[in-house]
Amino acid sequence: MISRTEYSKEKKVGEGTYAVVYVGTKRSSNRRIAIKEIKTSGFKDGLDMSAIREVKYLQEMQHANVIELVDVFMAQNNLNLVLEFLPADLEMIIKDTSILFTQADIKSWLLMTLRGVHHCHRNFILHRDLKPNNLLLAPDGQLKLADFGLARNMGSPQEFLTSNVVTRWYRAPELLFGAKHYTGAVDMWSVGVIFAELMLRIPYLPGKDDIDQIDVTFRALGTPTDKDWPEISTFGTYNKIQFYPPPSREELRRRFIAATENALSLMSGMLVMNPHKRLDPIQCLTSEYFLELPEPTLPSELPKLNKN
């Protein structure tokens, strides 16, 4: 089938290390789309892993809360990924002090995030880079998980995974200790930190560097002991860290003033140190928090960026 080019690139909207992003149109349907043109020249190790992972994992996933990979095409020896056009992200909303949002809005964003994560995990895919900046917002209010450049299969038990994943502030304790085997629990930790950030409207665990991240994390949430996490002493760095007591419920209440008891329980459940005991997406989605009032805001009624 041969016809006119299907995609037009209209405006460059961003440039990353391995791609240039354009806004464009899919001609046959007149749909607005984003085109990621993968840079192939100038890279010592050829085609970037992030590009490969993005195609690999998005190709077969279809879910309202996961970004859609519309097409893959080659043009002039360049690889192009056509993605849904999503103009805003959760970080912009959190940072924009002119936007007020309610507990019901937070519940709605968290619900959509958890649904997206649940879909990834039930397809045995770890996202490994969840943060507000990677939770994009569609014009109809739907939140979508994006940037699968660090994603990977859950892998078989004997495989070694790298612990150098997830943006620092959202990194789970097992990763801070350099674990070579981990599970979807690393994503759940990130969601917990994002939940906290939505309530505080500032980053919850902002470590200055990798060492500081360990300190910041345990100062806020308490240093894990081998009583609640028996494997902890197998990590080499464990003995060298400062011991902090876990925060009392009262301290949490004071830190998260507007949160209900159920909200606090859910957040704490996602921020359990021992990954085996941390809540999984199903436990979160069926938690009391989503049953109590207020109901989550309808996506179409969620606050939007005040565009000039």
């Binding site: 080019t5 046959s28 085609l47 080659m74 043009a75």
Partner: protein, 323 residues
């Protein structure tokens, strides 16, 4: 319409039948004998590289799929085939997450090819060629990540064997046979779990006292014609070149009596050779008969035929609306 403003939609077809493969190779392989000879030495290079760089078998398997797939749609030239093989391995490392630096792969490749003095310039040139080939290889696979992703023969073989309660001996023999199966064109015809089923069946038939359970292949997401295709392909391989196979050198003591005759005997018992149904339209199949036109500006790769059909009917509606 000018050639530079065109788009082409390619439907991914990761598996082809034997005749379809032959037809595609008519365009790309001028001398079958030379191709086969070089393929053996390219595969030897891949095996040696995997041993030296300590890659698991899945990395090798994926590289071998890429190599054979590449030459379905790209002209075979003897000079380039080792670079193609190296590039396939480099890409398969990314595919199965056993990542290695390009420099390590290039050095290993050149050394194993007996290049005595590996100069930095030689390395750089080789790197360049490998990176250039990488995208071409992916294009011949239509960027289809459904294959060679999480299922590999050696892994799934063990899982199926456990499920069917087959003995350790049967499974181990199957695992050895599967290594020979990697080098066959069967990789391009049926998915890995189907090859695993065929290999396990052969292994059961070779070991005294073991018997292949009479199962419905649909239980393992496969079917009779596909398993038969793999089964007969592997039997024929051993009947033709048992002496050159890796199986011969790796048989355990109690299985030393296995030889060509054993496989001839198995084939006799298996009855008429059967396999995948060959389609009638091979001579008019554009994917196989037309050489690829890389001048077309936009080459789109899709996984489902439904997508193409939907777009066609959309266009049809739009045209109607215009008129």
């Amino acid at each position: 319409m000018s050639g530079t403003f065109q788009t082409q939609v390619m439907l991914s077809r990761p598996y082809l039948t034997r005749s379809q493969i032959k037809r595609a190779q008519q365009n790309t392989i001028p001398d079958r004998r030379v191709y086969n000879q070089k393929r053996l030495s390219a595969f030897k290079l891949l095996c040696d590289m995997c041993v030296q760089l300590k890659f698991p078998r899945k990395t090798l398997e994926t590289a071998m799929y890429f190599y054979q797939r590449y030459y379905l749609f790209n002209k075979f030239e003897t000079e380039l085939c080792y670079d193609v093989a190296t590039s396939c391995l480099f890409l398969s490392c990314k595919q199965v997450e056993t990542i290695k630096k390009i420099a390590d792969i290039v050095v290993a490749s050149l050394r194993l090819r007996n290049v005595l003095k590996v100069s930095p310039e030689m390395q750089d040139n080789c790197k360049k060629r490998i990176v250039q080939l990488e995208l071409r290889i992916l294009e011949t696979c239509s960027f289809d990540y459904r294959v060679n992703n999480s299922i590999h023969i050696d892994g799934i073989l063990v899982k199926i064997a456990k499920d069917l309660s087959l003995s350790r001996e049967v499974t181990h023999l199957a695992w050895i046979i599967a290594f020979d199966a990697l080098k066959l064109e069967i990789l391009l015809m049926v998915p890995q779990h189907t090859i695993a089923l065929a290999v396990l069946k052969i292994s059961c038939e070779l070991i005294e006292g073991a018997s292949w359970p009479n199962i419905r292949y649909s239980l393992f997401e496969s079917d009779e014609p596909s398993v038969s295709e793999a089964y007969f392909d592997i039997l024929n391989f051993f009947i033709n070149v048992f002496d050159l196979s890796d199986l011969r050198g790796n048989l355990t003591e109690n299985l030393q009596n296995i030889g060509i005759e054993t496989f001839i005997e198995l084939k006799k018992h298996a009855g008429l050779e059967k396999g995948l149904k060959e389609p009638d339209n091979i001579s008019s199949d554009a994917l196989l008969t037309n050489e690829r036109d890389f001048t077309i500006r936009e080459r789109r790769y899709v996984l489902s035929r439904k997508r193409i059909n939907d777009e066609r009917s959309n266009k049809h509606i739009q045209k109607k609306e215009k008129t």
